[in-house]
Each structure stands twice: as structure tokens, then as C-alpha cells.
Subunit: 295 residues, 2 copies
């Protein structure tokens, strides 16, 4: 069975793995990215890990949070990495003399769910990944949407409350400003480090925390009603680290859609949890050159 190198290059940590053609991660190593030391050092460390793997792989795929130019294989801008114009693809091509492709990490995760996860066999679905930030991946008419400058699917920056709280993007009332990990943590007084703490406090009955969690849940439900009306998907797939802290999120989304989305738009809709968890980025990156539905 052929294997591919998949890399999930994150602002803090990077996972480097070997993924087989059935989508299984057969080997994985995690390192700190140390983005602040400059991209050359980070990429060198990743290359060392790849070089330590058995030489069974024939290509390398990398998923990364940021704006990508897939044609040139350049990371134009990685806001959290604080890297600009990094020729990632050519770096690894020169090192390994193998085909290399790079893609935006959330799109990689959507691709993995399409090929091996909750989107399998489906031509119209939307992935919504709710973590520290909120990202999306849209497969419509059998294509992973890319957009005119490779940024399609930024569902975290749908505005659902015109006069809502400010978002990191400079706008107001984005889904991300209401329901992301950072937005949940920010609403606590005093502000806490992670949404998990709020979720835990809500579980223990803290009234303020419950209100924050309820507000985030409602925002996600609202966004999913819009997603249903906009895309008429067959599936909405919910992933990321925040949903486990929101009690009954999926039933709430289903109920909200049943109640408020256009009846014709929800005829075939299922709301499902993402299946691949945190490894989706790595798996999708490994197979990112296959923008096709898989059986």
C-alpha cells in the first residue's frame, strides 16, 4: 500500500505523518514549530523528521493556516506564524526530489472528511470547524470550493449579528466573534485562556458561563440555518475542539434548521460530527492533490 507524507504545520505544533492510501496515519511525529525562529529553521526541523521516516513515500503534502498560492506553492501570509512569502513547496521539492503540494489547513481537513470521513460519497456538503478560530470547507457539485484567490469557505467570517462584537478580522458580529474558542474565552470575566474552562464552569452550573455557552450555541445554530439556505448541502459536518464543550450542539443545530431553514433546502440534509478529529488536517494534506470525490 502506498504512503504519503502529510504535514499539519500549525502556529505552535507541527504534526508530520505517514498516511496510507486508506487514510490511516501509520506513523506520526509531533514537534514544536518555533515559528518565531524563522521559517528556514522550522522547515529544516520538519525535513529532518521526514528524512527519519522509512523511504516508502512518493509525495509530500502540507496543510497550513494561512493564505496559499497553490500554483507556486508559496505561503503568502500565515497570520499566526507571522511568516510572509515562504516558498514552502520548492523548499521540500529541493530537499526530497518528490512532488510536493501545499494547501490551507481547513481545506485539507474538509478534503480528509470527504475522502475518509463524514463526507464520504457526498457531492454537496459543508464542514464547519470550530476551534480557537472558525474555518470551513465547502464541497459543492462535487468540487472543493477554492475561490478566485484561494480563500473560499471562510465561514467563520459570515456576519450573523450586524452590530455584534468586534472580530479579529476587523469586522463585527462574525460567527467567529460569537462562537469561536477565543470569543468564548474572551467573554469570561476575568478573561480566561481557553473555552474549555468556560465549558467546564457551565457544566458545573455557573450561570454566567452557561449564558456564554448558550450564546455561542445559538450563534452556531444561526450560522447553520444560513449555510443550509445558501448551499443546500446534503450534509453539514461539525468538527473542532469547541463543540464537545457545547451540550447538545448537534441536536440543537438540527432543531434550529428544522424550525427556521427553508423547507426545500433541508430536504436531504443531515447534520453530522466530523469523524477524523485532529488528524484530519494531516490526512487531507497528504492527499491534497486529489480534488475529487472518493468512493
Amino acid at each position: 500500500m502506498s504512503v504519503t507524507v502529510g504535514i499539519d504545520l500549525g502556529a505552535t505544533k507541527t504534526a508530520i505523518g505517514l498516511v496510507d492510501s486508506a487514510g490511516h496515519v501509520v506513523q506520526v511525529e509531533r514537534i514544536l514549530t518555533h515559528a518565531d525562529q524563522g521559517y528556514e529553521q522550522s522547515l529544516e526541523r520538519i525535513a529532518e523528521v521526514i528524512a527519519s521516516f522509512p523511504k516508502s513515500y512518493q509525495s509530500i503534502g502540507l496543510g497550513i493556516a494561512g493564505q496559499i498560492d497553490p500554483q507556486s506553492g508559496i505561503l503568502l501570509f500565515g497570520p499566526n506564524l507571522r511568516w510572509r512569502n515562504v516558498p514552502i513547496q520548492s523548499f521540500f521539492e529541493k530537499k526530497f526530489s518528490l512532488p510536493v503540494h501545499i494547501m490551507q489547513d481547513v481545506r485539507a481537513a474538509a478534503l480528509a472528511e470527504w475522502k475518509y470521513g463524514a463526507g464520504k460519497g457526498c457531492e454537496n456538503f459543508v464542514c464547519l470547524f470550530i476551534g480557537t478560530g472558525i474555518g470551513g470547507g465547502v464541497v459543492a457539485e462535487g468540487k472543493l470550493l477554492d475561490g478566485s484567490s484561494h480563500t473560499a469557505g471562510e465561514l467563520g467570517h459570515m456576519i450573523i449579528e450586524r452590530e455584534g462584537p468586534p472580530c479579529t478580522c476587523g469586522s463585527r458580529g462574525c460567527l467567529e466573534a460569537l462562537a469561536s474558542g477565543w470569543a468564548i474565552a474572551k467573554q469570561a470575566e476575568p478573561e480566561v485562556l481557553s473555552a474549555k474552562e468556560i465549558a467546564e464552569a457551565a457544566r458545573k452550573g455557573d450561570a454566567k458561563a452557561k449564558k456564554i455557552i448558550e450564546n455561542a450555541t445559538q450563534a452556531i445554530v444561526t450560522a447553520c440555518i444560513s449555510i443550509t439556505n445558501i448551499f443546500n448541502p446534503e450534509r453539514i459536518i461539525i468538527g473542532g475542539g469547541v463543540p464537545p464543550g457545547l451540550p447538545d450542539l448537534l441536536p440543537r443545530i438540527r432543531e434550529g434548521i428544522r424550525h427556521s431553514a427553508l423547507p426545500a433546502a433541508q430536504k436531504k440534509l443531515q447534520v453530522l460530527p466530523a469523524l477524523l478529529g485532529a488528524e484530519a488536517n494531516l490526512i487531507g494534506a497528504a492527499f491534497g492533490n486529489l480534488n475529487e470525490p472518493q468512493e
Copy 2:
């Protein structure tokens, strides 16, 4: 030059035309739909008009406001026509022994803009038609989005104000509930029949009318920021009867996007007026079987 019959079947009026392969309407007749008299009579009257045309056409295309099953050619439900399960395609096929196809009217208009209008040559664009209601058509990665049950592109039912005014769809705060013709007319006191009256009053300096128009304008700007982030289109094309009553709508949209959409998502974006006006439905319906970009 070959010609096709295009039909724009509306709740009140129906336009029946001959469209040539350059997208020109070479002949058109308008009749009242009289939907309340039952579909058989309406379709018979349309058939009479077609029969009166020179016998140069080789196919018939019909655009209609409602839920369509394009495979069977049945109108499942036309809310404003109050028709259900009407076998429109087979009706005209039997009458004329020619290929017949039907499609949702807004999608037909988007197709027309793609083939002959403001979307020409473009693989990623969004049409937003703002009339009595608000509809959309999305072309992404070179495909007109259809969705899992043929309702993709209901951009009027994006929620942009969670606790906003009720919409006819049963939800709240939809774009349509804030900026459509009916929503604008409804905000007047006493309520007026058309958004045009409000636009006219605003032009004459009426403070209340100006506020209503400003509110609708802001809602459209907000929706266009979301559309930019969601689809990363190359063009946003604005059509319909309401925009002429909203002063500086396009510059306002451009300014709002420049200020508040993700910088990477607006890199290649142009905001343009629709070019084909009210005839877009008819032209698109005539060519609705060609779901392909045209040069």
C-alpha cells in the same frame, strides 16, 4: 442563427420570447399569468403564444419562481403561484414535441448574466437580485451551484441580524427581511405598496424614508461582506428592481467590502451591476440546459 423559446413565468405576468444564440431577445410577448385560474389554463395560454411564433425554434426553456425538480421537469411548489406538483416540462413536450427544460427563475437569471452579461468569462461569481424578494445565483469553480435538492443560492435567507425582524420564511433577520422590496415597503408608516415610494420619499428628503433606505443599504453591504468571505468570488453582480432606489449602492458595497471583508478574499473582487435587466430570466431560461461557461 438558431433561436430558442424562453419563458419567464411569474406570479402576475409571464414573458414569452424568442432568444437567439447571441442572447438577444428577437421577439417577446407578455401576458397575464392568471395563476388563480389553475395551471392548465395558464400553460395553455403560454402554449398559444409559442404557437404564434415563427416555427424557427428547436427547444423551449422555462424559468419559474419556485422549487423545481429538474430531472422530472415538475414544479414541486410555486409559493406565489400557489401551484403544486405541476408537470410543466411534459405539458410542453407533448404540445410541441421538442426538448423542454425548466429551472428556477433566479438561477436562470444568473445563467444569463454568466453567458451574456456581467458574469461573462468568469468562473467564480455571485449574483444578488434584489426585488420584491431577494434571490441569488452562485457560480463557483465554473459551475452554477444547484445543491442537494436544487435550492442552492437562497442568499436572501442569509441571517445577518440574529434578533432581526421576522421574515416571510419563518426565520428572523434574513437579508430579505431587511432589504427586499417588501421589507422596505413594510417599514413605512402607514405601510406602502412598493419600495419605490419609499425611495422617492427619501430622494425628496423625508427623514423616515431616508432611514429605511439607509438601513436596507447597510444590510446589503453586510451581506456582500459575508458573500466575499464565504465564496471568495471574482465578481459580485447586483441586479433587481430595488437597487436603483438605493443611492450609491455599488460604491457603498465596494467601500464596505474594502473596509471589512478579509483582505485575501477581496483581492480579485469586482462589484458590478447586472447587465441584462428584467430580460435575464427569459434569456437564461432559454439557455438553461447549458450549464457551462461561455466565451
